[in-house]
């Protein structure tokens, strides 16, 4: 009886829910339609839109900020799709091998584009048109990824600097200039600060995803030895690693957990730290007046510093070639370059004056980057070039040196000899020329 009683109500409910469902579907159509521009294959929203697949700006806020830059400056409708480097390389290479290219523009770091050179269009003509932009000679050399023609157009650049919480300045030893640090001065400062604070307050991004290998490759070793690979195990390298061992004893041991320095810096756990500009930018976000950004220290052979460069490339037989080229031209204009710096802290690759109204952290970084690049004895170093998939293994060699020398206190000479053998094994299989600061003409191997 009860069931009978509820029966009519039940059917009316179902009719109502049917109506609701219909309404819901109707209302969701515009939302679903707007999803059409986004898909993980890197495909464009449709004809006439540049499908831009990139490894940069994966965090959603950065992505949104960069989409705004594109909308304002790209001069062509662009569907920006940012993915992890692994997804990027497999997407590009599988689409190339299937002969079914869904993307029209690719953006990535030099090290990510170089292994894909075979699937990228030559951009020599485009670079000739853009020669007035003022790309540096080193950058243009880099775009050739070891071959004779350029495979990408420089997009933006970054480097590494030292972030200093002004609290640490009270322990700065007399005679040490914070804006012109030497490695000796840096060490003396770290030790004085450790003593003064009662705990180590200098840090390194030596965590599993930290970029500390770039410190040895691009800063420490070039500054002490003048090279990166050829001088890997000479006497100067032993001096450099002896220095590193001593420096490590004055750094906070929690460094092996830091993937980027901005978090421990912002927490006050660390007061002075070296890292990639994009991994430092949030430390002074709330109180820029309490922070300094300074160039990395200089050593006996100069101020070694590493340049990270990102490029824009055209996939071979990609879609909407004209539009993609138009977007590249637009993105290398000074205004869009500066807007990228403002929004996402990547520096311009073209010759341009930086505006004076940059916000706190970025203004600090911009000053430090400029001072580092223009300082006397500046010694440009590049991340390994032309190693393709072996880049990780080569960088791991430098991390192994750190692991064994600083953490396990093994004899330096022995570690360097063993790791040099490993390094040569990898390099012999590759047969690539050396990159800056090593002499570029030779075949790259440890002397």
């Amino acid at each position: 009886m009860k069931d009978m009683y509820f029966q009519p109500k039940h059917t009316s409910m179902s009719r109502r829910s049917l109506l609701l469902a219909g309404l819901g579907t109707a209302m969701s159509v515009p939302f679903l339609a707007s999803c059409a521009g986004f898909d993980t294959s890197g495909a464009a929203a449709g004809e006439g839109t540049v499908g831009f697949l990139s490894t940069q700006f994966t965090p959603v806020e950065e992505k949104q900020r960069y989409e705004a830059v594109l909308k304002k400056f790209a001069k062509a409708p662009v569907a920006y799709n940012s993915v992890d480097p692994g997804v990027f390389s497999s997407t590009v290479s599988t689409q190339a091998s299937a002969g079914n290219i869904k993307t029209s523009l690719l953006g990535g770091l030099h090290g990510e584009l170089a292994p894909l050179a075979e699937s990228l269009e030559d951009v020599d003509n485009l670079l000739r048109d853009l020669s007035g932009r003022g790309f540096t000679k080193e950058m243009l050399e880099l775009t050739k990824v070891g071959g004779s023609t350029s495979r990408y157009v420089p997009w933006m650049q970054a480097t590494y600097v030292v972030a200093v919480n002004k609290k640490a300045l009270e322990w700065l030893p007399p005679g040490v200039d914070v804006n012109d640090l030497t490695y000796e001065g840096y060490l003396a400062w770290a030790k004085a600060a450790q003593q003064g604070a009662g705990r180590p307050v200098f840090g390194m991004p030596a965590g599993p995803k930290g970029l500390h290998h770039r410190f040895y490759q691009g800063f420490l070793l070039p500054s002490f030895t003048g090279g990166q690979i050829t001088t890997f195990r000479n006497e100067d390298a032993v001096t450099a690693w002896t220095y590193m061992q001593e420096l490590w004893s004055a750094l906070t041991p929690a460094s092996t957990n830091y993937d980027n320095m901005q978090e421990p810096l912002a927490r006050g756990e660390v007061l002075v730290g070296w890292d990639h500009v994009a991994r430092l930018v949030n430390a002074p976000a709330n109180n820029p007046e309490e922070w300094l950004m300074v160039p990395a220290p200089r050593g006996p052979k100069g101020r070694g510093y590493m340049l990270i460069i990102a490029g824009l490339a055209l996939p071979r037989n990609g879609k909407d070639r004209d539009l993609a080229e138009k977007a590249i031209r637009a993105l290398s204009e000074p205004l869009s370059q500066i807007e990228t710096l403002r929004s996402n802290a990547f520096f311009p690759v073209v010759q341009t004056e930086l505006p004076s109204d940059l916000t706190g952290a970025i203004a600090l970084e911009a000053a430090a980057v400029r001072r580092q690049q223009r300082s006397e004895g500046a010694l440009l170093a590049l991340p390994p070039v032309g190693l393709g998939a072996k880049e990780g293994e080569v960088s791991q060699i430098f991390k192994n040196c750190f692991q064994q020398i600083c953490l396990e206190n093994r004899p330096i000479r022995q570690v360097l000899d063993a790791q040099a053998t490993q390094l040569n094994t990898i390099l012999q299989g590759l047969n690539v020329p050396c990159w800056a600061p090593d002499p570029i003409s030779t075949k790259c191997e440890v002397a």
Binding site: P253, A254, N257, A389, G392, E393, N400, Q403, A418, T425
Partner: protein, 297 residues
């Protein structure tokens, strides 16, 4: 009355033609195909990848693996973890299962709560414990609340505390699997045996040692094999807690495959895990073999 086997379809339709493929083979064929495609083929691929480069057979990748400064620490840590963790886990799981058997109040709730970690991804579990053991995590916060200075539990120079943290997190995460198998095994043991032993005046420990545990042996064997093999695969928890400071073999495999992009050395590492897992299973199967059942187990 003897029951005749029902005539098969083929016989009723076409009696004169003899079937060439016996039904037994047809029955196991899907699983053979499945094993060959989804297990056999990848194993062969893996072996080829570990021992072959473009010039043919090579031991280079195995040499690279062995010379890597993280390899031996990873092997040591993995074995250490297994040796310490498995007995602890079994003691805990058997204890918990016996407690559940006494039907305490809310025993279903207990069981449910104890089984929760089973539903959690191991990376999530690792992150939960990271929030506890971190330098500024819950543990140190609570300690400082009591006026005790906490330590850097996960710092690289604190191998012992790092090991303890991984051990505790893994115990929390993976004991529930053993618990469920043991509870299922206990439910299969008729109460009569225990009651009979009770009648003859056996104490709790005597009953546990001579009645319950021997009858639990098949379940324990399954649980041991599963847990040990899974313990060789411990990865995400240690990765989340310690990064590379406490290397484990599977973590190294992952690092070589993704970070260093060298699938050949990763395959060599994976083979190490495969071989060790197989040896362990064979060892357990032989050591726990039930003498009465001959070669069945």
């Amino acid at each position: 009355m003897a029951v005749e086997a029902p005539p098969t379809h083929a016989e009723t339709l076409a009696p004169p033609r003899r079937r060439k493929i016996p039904p037994a083979i047809l029955l196991i064929a899907p699983s053979v195909v499945f094993m060959a495609l989804l297990l056999g083929w990848p194993v062969i691929q893996g072996i080829l990848q570990a021992f072959r480069d473009e010039n043919g057979f090579t031991l280079d990748f195995v040499a690279r693996m062995v010379q890597d400064p993280y390899f031996w620490p990873a092997v040591r840590n993995t074995l250490l973890l297994i040796v310490v963790m498995i007995p602890l886990q079994f003691a805990l799981a058997i204890g918990m299962a016996l407690m559940l058997r006494t039907n305490p109040r809310l025993h279903k709730v207990h069981f449910f709560v104890w089984a929760i970690p089973l539903a959690l991804s191991d990376l999530a579990a690792g992150l939960v414990w990271l929030a506890i053991f971190n330098d500024r995590g819950y543990l140190n916060s609570i300690l400082s609340w009591f006026g005790i200075e906490g330590g850097s539990w996960l710092a690289y120079d604190n191998q012992a505390s790092m090991f303890m943290c991984v051990l505790i997190a893994e115990l929390w995460r993976a004991t529930s699997l053993v618990l469920i198998i043991v509870v299922a095994g206990l439910q299969g043991i008729p109460k009569d045996y225990d009651e009979a032993a009770q009648v003859f005046g056996a104490t709790f420990w005597q009953r546990l040692r001579h009645v319950t545990l021997p009858l639990l042996k098949p379940s324990l064997q399954v649980a041991l094999i599963l847990r040990t093999i899974l313990a060789f695969q411990t990865f995400a928890v240690a990765q989340a807690l310690t990064g590379q400071n406490f290397p484990l073999v599977v973590g190294e495999t992952y690092r070589w495959y993704t970070g260093l992009q060298n699938p050949n050395v990763a395959a060599a590492l994976a083979l190490v895990i495969l071989v060790v897992s197989m040896l362990t299973s064979i060892f357990y199967l032989r050591a726990l073999r039930d003498k009465n059942q001959g070669g069945l187990r």
